[in-house]
C-alpha cells in the first residue's frame, strides 16, 4: 500500500513536471497576448508627440502630430504642423469619431466607412491613428507560430476580423515580442488574401518609462518606394487625463 501511495505521488510529480512548461506556454491565449501588447503600448493613459513622414519616389511630406489616449475607449489626435493643417483634430469616443476643422470652427462626424481610408494622405488609415476598432475585441486571435525578429523571440498571431465589425482587412498576421509584448511586425491582408501592407516597428528604446519601438513604418505592398513612417518624439504614460478631455468642447479648445 505504502509503495502504491508513493507511486501515486511520484506519478503526479512527474506529470506536473512534464506539463508545467506546457502549462506555462499555453496558459496565455493569443487574445491575452494581444491585450498585453495593447496595454503596454497604450498604458492607462498616454500622451505622445510624433512626426509622420509620407515618402513617395519623387516627393515627401512631413507633419507633426500630438495624441492623447485613455484606455481603448478614448483618443484625440491633433495636427501641429504644417501651418495649413494646424489645429485639425480627431476625437474618438468608443465607436464614434469626429473631425474638428479649425477653419470652419466646426466638427464633422465621420461615417464608419471613413475608418478604412487614408489618414490625411498617409499610408496609415484613420483606424490606425484613432484605433476605432479594437485589436482585442473586434478580432478572433490564434497562435500560428513563433519566430525571432531583431533578436527577440516573437509570437505570430493570426487575427481574423469578426463579421459584425467594419474592418476591411481579411486577415492580420501580428508578430509580438514574447518578453516585453511589443508589436514589432504586422502584415495586413485584403479580403481576397493578398498582402496589402506591412507595418514594421524598430528603434526600440525607453520612452515615457517604457520600452517601446520609437519608429513605425507602414509600407504598401504593391507600390515601390512608398511608405509612411511615424517617429515618436516624446511619450508619457499613465498621467491622469480627465474623461472631459475627450469631448467636442475640449476638441475645439486644444492649445
Amino acid at each position: 500500500m505504502k509503495r502504491k501511495s508513493f507511486e501515486w505521488w511520484y506519478e503526479v510529480i512527474i506529470l506536473l513536471l512534464a506539463i508545467s512548461p506546457a502549462v506555462k506556454g499555453q496558459s496565455i491565449s493569443a487574445k491575452d497576448v494581444m491585450q498585453k501588447a495593447m496595454d503596454h503600448v497604450r498604458g492607462k493613459t498616454s500622451r505622445a508627440e510624433m512626426t509622420i513622414r509620407t515618402i513617395r519616389p519623387t516627393w515627401s511630406r512631413e507633419m507633426t502630430v500630438r495624441t492623447w489616449s485613455k484606455g481603448e475607449e478614448y483618443a484625440v489626435v491633433q495636427v501641429m504642423a504644417p501651418p495649413k493643417d494646424k489645429g485639425v483634430a480627431f476625437l474618438k469616443r468608443k465607436k464614434e469619431v469626429w473631425n474638428w476643422i479649425p477653419t470652419l470652427e466646426r466638427s464633422i462626424k465621420l461615417p464608419p466607412s471613413m475608418m478604412s481610408q487614408s489618414w490625411m494622405g498617409t499610408d496609415f488609415t484613420n483606424d490606425d491613428l484613432v484605433r476605432e476598432s479594437s485589436m482585442v475585441n473586434d478580432y478572433d486571435q490564434k497562435f500560428v507560430g513563433d519566430t525571432v525578429l531583431m533578436g527577440r523571440s516573437c509570437y505570430i498571431i493570426e487575427m481574423i476580423p469578426k463579421p459584425e465589425t467594419a474592418i476591411v482587412w481579411g486577415k492580420l498576421l501580428v508578430y509580438i515580442d514574447k518578453q516585453d509584448y511589443l508589436e514589432l511586425y504586422t502584415r495586413f491582408f485584403d479580403e481576397d488574401g493578398t498582402l496589402a501592407s506591412t507595418m514594421i516597428a524598430t528603434e526600440i528604446k525607453v520612452l515615457g518609462g517604457r520600452l517601446v519601438p520609437s519608429r513605425v513604418e507602414m509600407i504598401p505592398a504593391d507600390k515601390k518606394n512608398q511608405k509612411t513612417e511615424i517617429i515618436y518624439l516624446g511619450l508619457q504614460y499613465d498621467a491622469p487625463i480627465d474623461d472631459n478631455f475627450f469631448t467636442l468642447t475640449k476638441l475645439k479648445n486644444l492649445n
Partner: protein
C-alpha cells in the same frame, strides 16, 4: 475713423506678436494665407469672356489672455482688378456681407480699375470655465450639420457656390453655452442682422449624443416669427446619415416655411468619397424661370436655395496624396436648374496649393434647356 482703428489694431498686434516671439508661452498666434485667383466668366455659348483677378490675404489672430479669457480677430484683405471690376456698377458694394449688423469693412481703393477691400469677419472675446462659456462679438455660430445646405443655421448662412470663402461668414452675436454633460450642452444665442435695417435673431439649441447619433433641438425667434428645428448626424451601416429640419411658424402676416435636408455620405476603396443629399424649401420656385436675373440669390436661413426641390451629388477621389479631383452637381427638377461643379486640387509644396474650379449653370429658358453662364477659377494658395 475706422481706418485709424484698424491701423492701430495692426500696430498693437504686431507689437504683441514681436513680444511673444521671445516668450516661452505662445499666447498670441498669427496665421493665414495669401491667394491669387484668376477668374474667367463666360457667357452661355462661350462667346464672350469677362476676366478678373483677385489677390486675397487672410489673417487669423488668437490671443490667449489668461486661463479664462480668449480673443479672436480674423480679417480678409481683397484686391480685385479686371473687366469684371470695371464693368460691374458699384463692384465694391457687393463685397460687403449684407447680413452683418455693423460695418467693419473698409474700401481702401474704389475705382473702376482697382478695388481694395478689408473686412473683419471675426472679432470676439470669450470667457470660459469648466461648466460654461460666453462669447461676444462677430463670430461664426455653427449650428449646421449637413455639408451644403444648413436649415439649422439661423445666424450665418453661407453661399455654397462661394468656394473661395472657406471660413464662411460670421454673425454679430452674443453666445452663451452651458455644458450639461460630457457630450451635451445648451447654447443660447442672440444676434443682430442687416445693417441699416437692424433686426434680431434669438434661439436656443440643445445638443446631445444618443445611441451613436449627434442630435440637436432648436427653438427661437427668427426676425419676425417663431421657429423650431431638429438636426442629427449618425450612420446606417457604413454610411453616414445626417439631416436638418427647420420650421418657421406662421405669425401675423409672415407665412410658414419648412426647410428640410437629408444627406448620406460614404467612402469607398481607392480613395473615393461620395455624398448625396436633398433640400426641400416649401417657399421655393417650382416651375421654370424665364429670367434668372430677377431671382433673389442672396442666401439666408429662409433662402438656402431659391428652388423648391433640390438634389445634390458629389464624388471626389484622392488620386495621390497630393492630387484630388472631384465633381458635383446640384439639380432642381421643377425649375430645371442645373449647376455642375468639377474641380481639381494639387499640393505643389507643403504650403503651396493649386486649384482649378469650374462652375457651369444651366436652366430651362423660354427657348430651350441651355447654359446660363460658366465660370472658371484658377487659384494659387500659400498658407502660413
Amino acid at each position: 475713423m475706422m481706418r485709424l482703428t484698424l491701423i492701430g489694431l495692426f500696430l498693437l498686434l504686431a507689437r504683441i506678436s514681436a513680444a511673444q516671439d521671445s516668450a516661452a508661452v505662445k499666447r498670441f498666434e498669427l496665421r493665414g494665407y495669401v491667394k491669387d485667383m484668376q477668374i474667367l466668366n463666360y457667357d452661355r455659348g462661350f462667346k464672350t469672356l469677362i476676366t478678373s483677378n483677385l489677390i486675397h490675404n487672410r489673417l487669423n489672430m488668437r490671443w490667449k489672455i489668461d486661463e479664462h479669457w480668449k480673443a479672436g480677430v480674423e480679417l480678409r484683405n481683397r484686391l480685385y482688378w479686371g473687366e469684371q471690376v470695371s464693368m460691374t456698377p458699384n463692384f465694391a458694394d457687393n463685397l460687403r456681407n449684407k447680413n452683418e449688423a455693423f460695418n467693419m469693412s473698409i474700401t481702401w481703393i474704389n475705382s473702376t480699375s482697382l478695388v481694395l477691400h478689408t473686412n473683419i469677419d471675426r472679432l470676439w472675446l470669450e470667457y470660459a470655465t469648466q461648466k460654461w462659456n460666453a462669447r461676444i462679438g462677430r463670430q461664426r455660430i455653427n449650428w449646421g450639420i449637413a455639408s451644403t445646405w444648413n436649415p439649422n443655421d439661423l445666424f450665418n448662412t453661407f453661399n455654397f457656390i462661394d468656394f473661395d470663402y472657406e471660413e464662411r461668414p460670421g454673425s454679430d452675436a452674443v453666445k452663451f453655452q452651458y455644458l450639461t454633460g460630457p457630450m451635451s450642452n445648451l447654447e443660447v444665442t442672440g444676434a443682430l442682422t442687416e445693417e441699416g435695417n437692424l433686426r434680431g435673431i434669438s434661439a436656443a439649441r440643445y445638443f446631445m449624443n444618443w445611441k451613436n447619433y449627434d442630435i440637436q433641438f432648436i427653438g427661437g425667434w427668427y426676425i419676425n416669427q417663431p421657429t423650431f428645428g431638429l438636426g442629427w448626424s449618425g450612420s446606417i451601416g457604413q454610411t453616414g446619415f445626417k439631416g436638418e429640419f427647420q420650421q418657421f411658424v406662421n405669425h401675423g402676416n409672415v407665412g410658414a416655411q419648412t426647410n428640410l435636408v437629408l444627406e448620406a455620405d460614404r467612402t469607398f476603396k481607392g480613395g473615393w468619397y461620395m455624398d448625396t443629399g436633398m433640400l426641400y424649401n416649401s417657399s421655393g420656385i417650382d416651375q421654370p424661370v424665364p429670367d434668372w436675373s430677377t431671382i433673389n440669390l442672396q442666401f439666408s436661413p429662409k433662402n438656402l436655395m431659391p428652388t423648391k426641390w433640390n438634389v445634390l451629388y458629389t464624388a471626389t477621389k484622392q488620386i495621390t496624396p497630393l492630387l484630388t479631383a472631384g465633381s458635383g452637381f446640384v439639380y432642381a427638377p421643377q425649375a430645371k436648374l442645373l449647376i455642375i461643379l468639377p474641380q481639381v486640387g494639387y499640393e505643389l509644396t507643403t504650403d503651396l496649393d493649386i486649384n482649378l474650379v469650374w462652375q457651369s449653370f444651366f436652366a430651362q429658358q423660354t427657348d430651350a434647356f441651355a447654359g446660363l453662364s460658366h465660370r472658371i477659377y484658377f487659384r494659387l494658395k500659400y498658407s502660413f
